[in-house]
């Protein structure tokens, strides 16, 4: 077996595909994530990556393409197929002063690491075992015909666990800034990347050619409006945007879209502030309905802004089944723009 040091051949040049922002070119959401990883690894020698096929293969979605040659096998570590094992190991390394970033090849497989994440990692600080600065990131979401085990949105399986942070960006800018913030954060962060947004041309944007972070725990007004608040995250921010444009044209409604960006801790101040302006609330998530974040948001708004509501709180979500494979079935499963339009019209008329 070759030793790690023999494999470490470090070229001088930073490859072109991680220099888009430096060269003033726009980046996709995936490229923004790649740049964030690269820049953080250059900034901080304790940052390292581990996961399945992330080395010479560059990851299933090529997020870490070119990293191995530059950073070496100790910092871009291919692991055995053992999500629990390498997530737990990342926690141990974090205890010793490292900043590991774990890639789940698909976030569907993070369920295999539910045990170390919820029992060990999330509780560590409170138990007196110190912080666990660790990021677990990977692709999520449906609409790519991936079937039940390559399409999941498992965020709410972890939302119930105090001690974890959950981030789910919708734009390239936020993807980069939030990932940098997550890596620098002293707490464990689950970072969700919608695979359908990875290379979406419409999401290309030119990012500031400087180091920036987007603070965790702060929602963002994606679109301003006065009539209805739509709270969404990930892919559903963009589906809500399409619905909002249609509603503006056809109904003259001004929809405000709030992109949560961070699910845990949840920015209820931003939600309440928007609801006090519009008096109507719709929550949209690609995750399934029962136990989805809409339930938690509805209760917090009920606690803090009940008297500001002019209509019942509604939600548009996936149906309570596994994610189906065949296109007609998956489209039936996923929230559609037409659902959001219908829900907003109901709220407007109420």
């Amino acid at each position: 077996m070759a030793t790690v040091k023999e494999q470490t051949v470090r070229p001088r040049e930073k490859p072109e595909h991680v220099r888009h922002t430096e060269l003033g070119k726009p980046v996709t959401l995936l490229e923004a994530i790649r740049e964030a990883l690269w820049e953080e690894m250059e900034r901080d020698p304790t940052v390292f990556l581990l996961g399945e096929d992330i080395g010479s293969y560059g990851g299933a979605f090529k997020v870490t393409e070119g990293f191995l040659d530059y950073f070496g096998a100790d910092r871009v570590m291919d692991t055995p197929i053992s999500e629990a094992g390498f997530t737990g190991a990342a926690a141990g390394a974090a205890h010793m002063g490292m900043r590991p970033i774990v890639e789940m090849q698909f976030m569907d497989f993070v369920s295999c690491a539910y045990e170390p994440l919820t029992n060990y990692v999330a509780t560590s600080r409170w138990r007196g075992s110190g912080p666990v600065p660790l990021v677990v990131r990977g692709p999520v979401g449906g609409g790519v015909r991936g079937g039940p085990f390559h399409s999941q949105n498992p965020e709410m399986a972890f939302f119930h666990t105090p001690g974890l942070k959950i981030v789910y960006p919708a734009t390239a800018h936020d993807a980069k800034g939030l990932l940098k913030a997550a890596i620098r954060d002293d707490d464990p962060v689950l970072y969700f990347e919608h695979k359908k947004l990875y290379r979406l041309p419409a999401l290309r944007e030119t990012l500031p050619n400087e180091d920036f972070v987007v603070p965790l725990g702060q929602a963002r007004v994606h679109r301003e409006g006065k009539d209805i608040t739509v709270v969404a995250y990930g892919m559903m921010v963009h589906e809500s945007q399409r619905a909002a444009e249609q509603l503006e044209q056809e109904d003259g409604l001004q929809i405000e879209i709030l992109d949560l960006r961070t699910l845990l801790p949840l920015d209820d101040d931003a939600i309440v502030q928007s609801v006090r302006k519009t008096n109507r609330l719709l929550v949209v998530h690609e995750d399934t309905r029962t136990g989805g974040i809409a339930g938690e948001i509805a209760l917090r708004v009920s606690e803090r802004a009940f008297e500001w509501l002019d209509a019942p709180i509604l939600r548009v979500t996936a149906i309570d089944t596994p994610v189906p494979y065949s296109p007609p079935l998956e489209d039936y499963f996923l929230p559609q723009v037409s659902d959001i339009v219908t829900a907003c019209r109901y709220l407007a008329k109420y």
């Binding site: 629990a84 094992g85 737990g88 141990g92 010793m96 170390p116 600080r125 075992s129 105090p162 803090r304």
Partner: protein
């Protein structure tokens, strides 16, 4: 190791000098007497929750940890005990009063009452609190060892696993990762024949647990877990190998759990003659006989050690008993590091407190 000229048979004493042999005896006694104090406190309802004894297997924790580089400045080897390795914490420097407070859920325990028994972390002394999910600490330690290897630090991680925990996926995933990465991780499988009430025959189809070492491609060794010098010697070989960059090791010690799973368990499932057989092989008694027979200690010296330990334990018990319970709001200890989002949630949030 310093070879004391007073030790005639240096080889059979594992290269240990007289003072070191006495130190081993001290820690065997300390483990047993602290646990005996805990049992008494448990019967007075002063130990909260269950109490898991290591009676009859104290030599495992003490012998193994004696082979580690023990430091108090966070630069030594790192250990994660299992539930029956209280002795390992004592040897790493945990003060007995601290340990007793932890078992008694006191407000000034190392975890301020939030956690229990051996679930104590001290990065300076080098031990990590285990969680109750078995096998998980092998994953954690794989990462600890990995970070040592990545940074070129000549430090070793040591994990204890019961025989039952070897059946978990976590054990396999963690240990396999360490083996593949040639990380300096030494895992000791403490085969005490029972996982709660389940005998080893229902845990594995292997003849012995180190048969599994071949499946991981690692070095392995097995010894009598009731012989403190054998455990020390075996662990030292594995630890020094790992320290030299030769990778992970899987060790097994054969011992026996002489109490039930916890104090509430009368262990009806254990044959009486089996208990008697192992009682005759008590590790503390055995070491005492050995020390005397080899001329490594006099009866007076051993009596002095026992008395000193008894006094130490009594003082620790007084300190622990007089310690306060935690304030209830201590439960709100932050789960996050950044203060501005570590807002405490409350059991009840009234939208308008004036209406209550």
């Amino acid at each position: 190791m310093i070879n004391d000229s007073a030790v005639a048979a240096g080889v059979s004493a594992g290269g240990l000098g007289r003072a070191q042999l006495h130190e081993l005896y001290h820690y065997l006694q300390l483990t047993r007497q602290v646990e005996q104090a805990l049992t008494n406190l448990y019967r007075q309802n002063k130990v909260i929750g269950g109490l898991y004894r290591s009676l009859g297997q104290e030599a495992t924790a003490v012998g193994a940890v004696y082979a580690l580089r023990r430091r108090t400045d966070g630069t030594g080897d790192v250990l994660a005990p299992a539930i029956r390795n209280l002795g390992s914490l004592l040897l790493m420097g945990a003060p007995p009063a601290e340990v007793l407070r932890q078992y008694m859920a006191k407000g000034n325990s190392p975890t301020a009452g939030r956690e229990q028994n051996v679930h104590i972390t001290d990065y300076q002394r080098g031990y990590l609190a285990p969680i109750s999910h078995l096998g998980t600490m092998i994953e954690i330690l794989a990462g600890v060892a990995l970070s040592f290897r990545m940074r070129g630090e000549r430090r070793v991680a040591l994990g204890f696993s019961g025989d039952g925990a070897t059946s978990t996926g976590a054990f396999h995933e963690g240990f396999n990762f360490a083996a593949v990465q040639r990380a300096p991780l030494v895992v000791i499988i403490e085969n005490n024949r029972y996982a709660y009430s389940t005998p080893i025959e229902r845990q594995t189809a292997c003849e012995s647990f180190i048969e599994k070492a071949g499946g991981y491609g690692v070095w392995s060794e097995c010894c009598d877990g009731n012989d403190v010098l054998a455990v020390f010697g075996m662990t030292r070989r594995a630890v020094e190998r790992a320290r030299a960059g030769e990778g992970a090791a899987l060790l097994e010690v054969i011992t026996y759990r002489r109490k039930g799973h916890a104090e509430h368990d009368p262990q009806h499932y254990v044959p009486a003659e089996e208990l008697k057989h192992w009682q005759e092989r008590d590790p503390v008694d055995a070491f005492e006989r050995r020390l005397l027979a080899e001329g490594w200690a006099t009866p007076d010296e051993l009596e002095t050690i026992r008395a000193r330990v008894a006094e130490q334990v009594e003082r620790a018990r007084d300190q622990a008993e007089s310690s306060p319970m935690p304030e209830p709001e201590g439960a709100l200890y932050p789960v996050y590091g950044d203060a501005e989002i570590a807002r405490p949630w409350t059991r009840l949030s009234l939208p308008d407190p004036h209406l209550a």
